[in-house]
Subunit: 283 residues, 2 copies
């Protein structure tokens, strides 16, 4: 019998829905109905509306839907955690609707919600080995260490949020109007961010503009932040990067520039593989 | 004959005026008429009004008054630079009114305007040795290396501005409402910022609140930023800190916590000694 279910990658801002039949995605939706746009009381009607559109199937919900700003705060599962542990800790809202728990790491303290499906899914799909460094660039970039196919530890860097704050609110904003792309300014930022750290290297955006008339401060600042982010991981072991194409290529360029090696992984395929595996383990 | 002149520490936001007679400050003023509040055409009337209030004396103006947002953009003087070089490069607006040039460092690119008077003044006043590391915490923290009484090189860290952005505009803001003071949370931040860098350690503000119910995120974040700032300088050589009392003690605590030694220097006395020395060399 073909198993059919609906998966949600339900983040703070965005929501992505997948109708999955027999292990294949047959329909998707994406919209802005993230957790920030909804009150807890809104969820039953949202869930019913999704089933009206996509069919009356079981649902598996991952991400901020399970946080204090979502439908219900689901306790974090501690590291180390693999698919078995997560499948065993699904939080059932009713007999056909379950929320995937996020993970926490005790020391240094860190948390994730939603990324765990993609990280473990990358391994489930055969896209990364069981022992590997994985990186999910974004507003809050996650770095996770897989050991034996489980998430052993992880940390979060505020790379994307810092870039956004600097570009819109800081004294550097007027120097950061260029389009960020891989090139000499980005590479110079990568080298300086890795060598001197974020807070020092960033002021170079202003100094380069004042002294040299530089008009590539956005690319330089992006390089500084990404360079500092990847520097501790630019070693002999490859970094597996799960991201959209543009950001993934910037991260890969930074890793390479610092002497490491990077492999781009299809992040959507990783999420789908992860949520299917959880469905198999919990059905 | 007793020399009398008016010194201005004319920053972006604030302006401090000193009437100096025979090497002694006999009157001061401070207000919000910084460079950001004035157009270039406003300065002649401002200068005349100051002389109306403080006496018809020669004036020596330091800081952002000499920038592109001030009265007139005065070219930066390159490092290495001491009092002699700066006194020789004063920019005379008329025969009794001069602007002190800022300094630039070529590689890595960096700039300062106003801080040079305080840095070199600290040495002129005998408050720091001729070969020393000096630190001026603030919105844009300056670190300067004195060699033989001259500024050999310097760098700027955006520590204060990053703290302000994070406390007011970031996802961490709601966890940063506590008063920043030296204590366990600040010290934990110092250790983590030094060990893991800003972008990673800062997310601990949120994770500590979510996992442990921590309500000291402001102190922790301040520790992270200051810890990362001082870490490269927490060695056997003392750091001389020029700052207001509160910020100076936080920086000193962070230097000590990371195994270095810090000495607090009276920043107002340093500025006054510096501007008097420049007056002596240029009169």
């Amino acid at each position: 019998m073909v198993d059919t279910f609906i998966a949600a990658d339900w983040g703070t801002t965005n929501r992505r829905l997948f109708l999955i039949e027999g292990g294949e995605v047959v329909r998707t939706e994406a919209d802005g109905q993230g957790a920030a746009a909804l009150a807890p009381a809104d969820y039953p009607a949202e869930i019913a509306a999704i089933r009206d559109r996509m069919g009356d199937h079981p649902m598996l919900l991952a991400g901020m839907v399970g946080s204090s700003i979502g439908w219900q705060a689901v306790p974090y599962l501690p590291t180390p955690a693999g698919m078995d542990q997560i499948a065993g800790a699904l939080h059932r809202m009713d007999d056909r609707t379950a929320i995937v728990p996020g993970l926490c790491h005790a020391d240094p303290a860190d948390v994730m919600r939603g990324e765990e499906v993609q990280l473990l899914g990358a391994h489930a799909a055969g896209l990364v080995p069981p022992d590997a460094w994985l990186c999910q660039p974004g507003t809050h970039c996650k770095w996770a260490r897989l050991d034996g196919g489980r998430i052993a530890r992880f940390s979060t860097t505020m790379t994307g949020e810092l870039f956004s704050l600097l570009r819109t609110r800081s004294i550097l904003a007027s120097c950061m109007t260029d389009t960020v792309e891989d090139g000499p300014a980005f590479r110079a930022g990568v080298a300086d961010g890795a060598a001197r750290g974020i807070a020092t290297a960033l002021f170079g955006v202003r100094a380069r503009a004042l002294l040299n008339g530089a008009v590539d401060g956005g690319a330089f600042a992006s390089g500084v932040l990404i360079g500092a982010d990847v520097a501790p991981h630019a070693g002999p072991e490859p970094v597996h990067i799960l991201a959209d194409d543009r950001l993934g290529r910037l991260y890969a360029a930074a890793v390479s520039a610092l002497g490491g090696s990077a492999r781009l992984v299809d992040s959507r395929a990783a999420f789908v593989a992860g949520i299917i595996r959880l469905r198999e383990l919990s059905a």
